[in-house]
Symmetry: C2
Subunit: 352 residues, 2 copies
């Protein structure tokens, strides 16, 4: 195989994720599969969320649904960041957000958590990835695996359920720092095994969701997040997959986040990519259209998407939303967005 | 009355709020009255939240409860940012956060909202302030009135109830901008009347809670928040009360917030006061201990409080938490915090 052929066969998404300033920004959307799609709701009406996640045929089908409608450059595994946790002995329900049956509050509870081998964590996820890869064979679409960052997983496990500010968790870090660190260590090791298994099954990129990192000041992040995220990313180095880190509401943390050993950083809509890029010289930025824009008119969607695309010039850019697709988004608006992004030539931008 | 006597009779809190670099930082805590105090829970067990807010004797009693326990420099009116809204014809319940019976979604609904005269909005609030002022006569304690910023009030009125990201509201700003502006205009006028009535009743400072401003990027803030907050603050200018603005999770907005015509800016715990001060030269900063620290040991509380106090040097500082007192906070921890702040001499700080 010649070099040219190899380059050609590497999906656009991966080329950009590895740092290439591609002529077109690849596009995928967080929650591109999900509640705004009628074909998803049809499956959801017959199965519980856990059934969908744990049945490879269903999870693969849902993963692929948006790819049939839209010319997206990547498919992301349909799953949840809580997926690997039951293998530790935790009972987790969805209502619709995750609810932990017995929230962790003591070192003894944390010590009692199992640390399963890679093949025991979520074999159904590996099978889902294999099915999706097979279905996408020959198409220039990358398959993204993902997991939750240790701090964010710990947030749910200690708080027990979604709240506004996760106050109990933030307090726990102060009054039980030893137990917190022990939990974070275990979650880091679990996540390394889980993500390596995804890569072995065929995931071509990995996104680490640290959805609640932005709740903390930088000193707290440095103590309870940075070392674990760093260890996790380092364990995935050299495996041939670009590593994407996501935090939300974390504008104040960018100087610290720049220390993470990952190829790409996904950012929410709060700051423009132009404002964020100086924190991550030479790195890939992912984002960052406000998902609320997808509920506006086609004109507003195109205008705002182009604004994001222009702000993303000057370095490699993976186009995405700043957060997940909103439930009430009309699918045709997503189609319009994807088309707008695909038509934007980054190497010959017309003046405003 | 000599000048010396006049200066002496101005409470420390007000001197600092007007920009004096006082030798001691005045201290009050958001939600200093509330669910962590047994004497509050005793009243709460007999009355609904609306009853407490609408009965001046109860509201005054709850306002004063923390002042009996702790040597605080200010009392804040016990009320809620939703308090003035029923006078517009809106039905609002607490469960425990605000729930709007019929969320606003159309221009017709918004046009139908009444714009009551000052005396019709919440006369019970004015009476509460008078009672509190009378009780505090002769003590060096300032009484703070407050209201919700138009954007934050609109967030609840359109979304209908608390959610994580207020997606419906963020979308509404895009697909119904005309209706949104009409609502924000009306809420601004209502808030001006309501806050002026509080000042006339004796409120000595005003805090504007823009709790959800941080959800938006700066372009959205400039369109839907800045002009209304500016008009509101300008209407309160020259009335002899310092104006405090609060936003949470708004680290990315500080360059815009610096344009607000107010004396003081209250900030959450995400950035240190040292990092924030350059955005607000010559202005007063309020904050910013993470309320989760109050659940840690007395040693941690003292250490973290001193860190905040040191970061607050270099300009006027009102000591506070970055957000409200957490429900599970032991009252003796609050006492310890208040003592720590009172003992910190800002004009002769010992080296670390």
């Amino acid at each position: 195989m010649s070099i040219v052929q190899t380059v050609r066969s590497t999906p656009l998404f991966l080329r950009a994720a590895w740092g290439e300033d591609t002529p077109r920004a690849p596009v995928w959307l967080m929650r591109q599969a999900g509640r705004y799609l009628p074909e998803y709701l049809a499956i959801k009406s017959r199965s519980s969320f856990w059934e969908m996640v744990r049945t490879p045929e269903l999870a693969a089908e849902v993963t692929l649904q948006p790819l049939r409608r839209f010319a997206l450059d990547a498919a992301i595994l349909f799953s949840d960041i809580m997926t690997p946790l039951p293998a530790m002995g935790l009972e987790i329900q969805f209502n619709p957000g995750p609810v932990v049956a017995r929230p962790l509050r003591t070192l003894a509870q944390i010590e009692a958590l199992g640390l399963p081998e890679a093949r025991e964590i979520a074999p159904f996820v590996e099978e889902t990835i294999r099915l999706v890869r097979r279905e996408l064979e020959g198409r220039e679409v990358a398959v993204i695996g993902f997991g939750g960052a240790p701090l964010t997983l710990a947030t749910y496990l200690i708080q027990g359920a979604g709240t506004k500010d996760y106050e109990e968790f933030r307090a726990f870090l102060r009054y039980e720092p030893v137990a917190a660190h022990r939990l974070l260590e275990k979650l880091t090791e679990l996540s390394i095994r889980y993500l390596k298994a995804q890569i072995q099954a065929g995931a071509q990129a990995i996104q680490l969701f640290d959805s609640w990192a932005g709740l903390h000041d930088s000193a707290t992040y440095r103590e309870f997040a940075l070392p674990y995220n760093r260890a996790l990313f380092q364990a995935l180095e050299g495996l041939g997959v670009p590593r994407i880190y996501l935090a939300v509401g974390a504008s104040h943390l960018y100087p610290v986040l720049s220390e993470l050993p990952c190829e790409a950083v996904s950012v929410d809509w709060r700051l423009s990519l132009e404002q964020i890029r100086p924190h991550f010289p030479g790195r890939v930025l992912q984002g960052n259209l406000d998902p609320a824009v997808l509920l506006a008119s086609p004109e507003v969607i195109a205008r705002e998407a182009r604004r994001v695309l222009r702000a993303g010039l000057g370095g490699p850019h993976l186009f995405n939303l700043g957060h997940g697709v909103i439930r009430t988004t009309p699918p045709e608006h997503v189609a319009h967005l994807v088309e707008t992004v695909r038509q934007f030539n980054r190497h010959s931008v017309e003046p405003l």
